[in-house]
């Protein structure tokens, strides 16, 4: 892909599918806790799939939210155990905004109890950030330091802070990063306009990923119900099972629609960095995170119910998807957090204002 602009999301999705089909089999996912899947990462990186959504001027592969979403959704269908979103639309985005060239290797983002102090001619970074995805494997960590109305971002090589290993439910790395007076003088530092940008983007990323994982969970469950036989027939022939399959299909379709809606809303915002910062489409993003979070639980519950005991074994691949669903619904704010924020935003608009906002979702916002 290199410097070619990305023309077609369908082609991009196909490319991602091809790469993942070859390099992200169930055994790669199963062994990822003990072994970093270098080969998978390299396959994604050499095709440029790790850098979609970051401008070419900064060493990205170009493309926007629609393109990035197609790739992230596909990667989630394979439970790809690598920081794809973190490298591209989270860390890559922040560096892009800060006009910093993307370093090589996997990247991640850290935000939490971090602070900076001005000392003589530069900044000193201290504090800690919990649950940082793949900190242990990344080459650089983009630190987000919240200030009053802005946010300071600093790119730090991952050997500068101390890293304490930790996991999420899906046993993906979610490490603690401890910074003890890291000198930022020779490192890229910039000020971003929107201090809340990362959380919003992170929530959208997880919503997209949940919709992809749910598609896969539905596929696995429909397939299993058609081959598993009891009482002399496929369990899919029992009406009780059919009812549950239909509910699962509904949750997968709803998750997809919710994520798509937010992606088109966010993609419709164009213009300068400050127009973009002013129109984060936080309402649509909140709605997507809430709805996909609800679907994650319902979908995982039904899939496990229909798979019976085999589905709860480590051997079977179902849990790679269901446990990711249950982790991702927590990350960057769970349903309650986002529903409450969305509710407050709408309550301030009143009944009529809410209705107006509901029906203008996804309308273009230009400079």
């Amino acid at each position: 892909m290199g410097s070619d602009p990305i023309a077609d999301t369908a082609l991009l999705e196909q490319l991602a599918r091809d790469v993942l089909e070859r390099s992200c089999g169930a055994e790669v996912v199963a062994s990822s806790e003990s072994a970093w899947p270098e080969e998978l990462w390299r396959a994604l990186d050499t095709t440029g799939l790790t850098r979609v959504g970051v401008s070419e001027a900064r060493g990205g592969a170009g493309g926007g939210w629609a393109e990035a979403a197609a790739i992230l959704r596909t990667a989630a269908r394979y439970a790809a155990p690598v920081p794809l979103a973190e490298t591209s639309v989270l860390a890559g985005w922040a560096l892009d905004e800060a006009a910093v060239e993307l370093p090589g290797g996997p990247l991640t983002v850290a935000r939490g109890d971090l602070r900076v102090e001005r000392r003589r001619d530069g900044w000193i970074l201290s504090g800690r950030a919990d649950r940082v995805p793949w900190a242990r494997e990344s080459s650089w960590i983009v630190m987000f330091v919240d200030r009053r109305d802005t946010c300071l971002v600093a790119a730090v090589p991952s050997d500068r802070p101390r890293i304490v290993r930790s996991l999420n439910l899906a046993r993906e790395p979610r490490d603690t990063v401890i910074c003890d007076e890291i000198d930022l003088r020779d490192l890229p530092v910039a000020e971003l306009e929107s201090p809340t940008g990362l959380v919003s983007r992170g929530a959208l990323v997880r919503a997209i990923q949940m919709s992809g994982a749910l598609d896969r969970v539905l596929e696995l469950t429909v397939e299993y119900a058609s081959v598993r036989r009891q009482f002399g027939r496929a369990i899919a022939e029992f009406q009780a099972v059919q009812q549950e399959l239909a509910l699962l299909a509904g949750e997968a379709a709803a998750a997809r629609a919710a994520a798509d809606e937010a992606v088109s809303a966010v993609a419709a915002v164009t213009g300068t960095p400050s127009t973009r910062a002013a129109h984060t489409r936080r309402e649509e993003v909140a709605a997507a995170k809430v709805r996909t979070g609800i679907a994650a639980y319902e979908g995982a519950r039904i899939a496990h119910q229909l798979h019976g005991a085999i589905g709860i074994t480590f051997e079977h691949q179902l849990h790679h998807f269901t446990s990711r669903l249950l982790s991702w619904r927590e990350e960057y704010g769970n349903e309650r957090r986002w529903a409450t924020e969305l509710g407050r935003l709408l309550a301030a608009m009143g009944g009529e204002g809410t209705w107006r906002r509901l029906v203008t979702a996804g309308d273009p916002v230009a400079p």
Partner: protein, 381 residues
């Protein structure tokens, strides 16, 4: 038949919505209606329907030669949403616009289109949907109402139930047997346009648990239907009904029935509402946004001539479960007792919504049947 028409711009749609809203605000202020839940079935007002017709807001996407305005389907969708959210009385023309119009555009004769469509679009001619019978509910193919061929037409005999607004409509589309059922029971069914005022038609309104009567029992005792009132071809009734059901199941009325309550609740909440209230509003909105997208995708597919039966069934199942949930969620945090005719808006809207709640997952196909449709489609993927 489909004309190449440009999709309206965001700006044009916004202007149309603003026009509809301004009209609704004025009508409300003038006392023409009081917003209510479920208004597409419970708010019957011919005067109001005629006014919408005069403004070109019924059948707007139909060809101009049939009384439509040749506009994009999205315009019709936008108008429908605005009317539902405002709780406006749209039941009189509802079924004719939603189902009969598209049915005649697909299967009707030229004479039928010229006769009925302009009257429907004018808000002047109302149709009832005569499908269900006492012994044919979910199992619709088992209908027993029969049409015997006679000189110049048919004589129809049988009994239909739960027919929404039959007692206030001019015509009905009657699903009946014109031949033997065949192996799969789907053969020998036809659709006829029945004049509800013809001799041999007896209509008895049925009282609902809320005390209202919006559906009826229709008894047919040898009523005459002329030849030219056959819709589509003889024996093709089943497949015609299936494509009609995609229109019936995927529209915004399958998730906006409680919108007047939801908007009133948000209005009363205000910016400093309690956390549980804010969370409830957020949960409502997140689901609304999602269903709207799903429903609009189907509206586009329908406008392009497809009949996505399983996706429509899925939207109806999710949408109507949402409607039921919305009433409970609001009731839990609103802190008022639901009371019919209460001066407190939320109390009376809650009372309406609670009374209508059990109907939403029955009418238009029960949830269990819809899930069966979805499961069959999944199995065939």
């Amino acid at each position: 038949m489909t004309l190449a028409r440009a999709a309206p711009s965001t700006h044009e749609l916004g202007a149309l919505r603003a026009e509809v809203r301004a009209f609704l605000a004025e009508a409300r202020a003038a006392g023409a209606f009081i917003p209510r839940c479920d208004s597409w079935i419970s708010g019957h007002d011919p005067e109001f329907s005629r006014e919408l017709g005069r403004r070109g807001w019924i059948g707007r996407s139909w060809p101009a030669r049939y009384g439509g305005r040749d506009r994009d389907e999205l315009e019709r969708y936008a108008i429908t949403e605005e009317l539902l959210a405002a709780g406006a009385p749209v039941a009189a023309h509802w079924f004719a616009q939603r189902q009969t119009g598209p049915l005649l555009l697909r299967h009707g004769t030229e004479a039928q289109r010229r006769r009925f469509l302009p009257a429907i679009a004018g808000g002047d001619c109302y149709f009832a949907i005569l499908m269900s019978e006492p012994n044919a509910g979910s199992d619709l193919a088992s209908v027993r109402t029969s049409a015997e061929p006679v000189a110049g037409g048919w004589r129809v005999t049988g009994r239909k139930v739960w027919t929404s607004h039959a007692h206030k409509s001019h015509f009905g589309v009657l699903l009946c047997r014109t031949g033997p059922p065949g192996e799969r029971r789907h053969e020998g069914l036809s659709q006829l346009i029945l004049d509800l005022h013809a001799p041999g038609v007896t209509i008895r309104p049925i009282r609902l648990l809320s005390g209202e009567s919006h559906f009826s029992e229709v008894t047919l005792d040898g009523a005459f239907v002329p030849d030219d009132m056959l819709v589509g071809s003889i024996g093709n009734g089943w497949s015609q009904v299936l494509s009609e059901l995609a229109f019936e199941r995927s529209g915004p009325e399958r998730f906006l029935s409680t919108m007047p309550l939801i908007l009133e609740f948000i209005d009363a909440a205000g910016p400093d509402c309690a956390p549980e209230t804010a969370e409830t509003i957020g949960l409502l909105a997140a689901q609304l946004w999602t269903m709207r997208r799903m429903s609009m995708e189907i509206a586009r597919a329908l406008a392009a001539g497809d009949a996505p039966a399983a996706r429509a069934a899925l939207v109806k199942d999710i949408g109507t479960r949402f409607e039921q949930w919305s009433v409970e969620a609001i009731r839990r945090v609103a802190g008022r007792e639901p009371a019919p005719e209460s001066a407190d808006r939320i109390s009376s809207l809650l009372a309406q919504a609670i009374a209508a709640s059990p109907t939403v997952t029955l009418r238009g196909g029960t949830s269990e049947i819809l899930r069966g449709v979805v499961a069959r489609e999944l199995a065939s993927r």
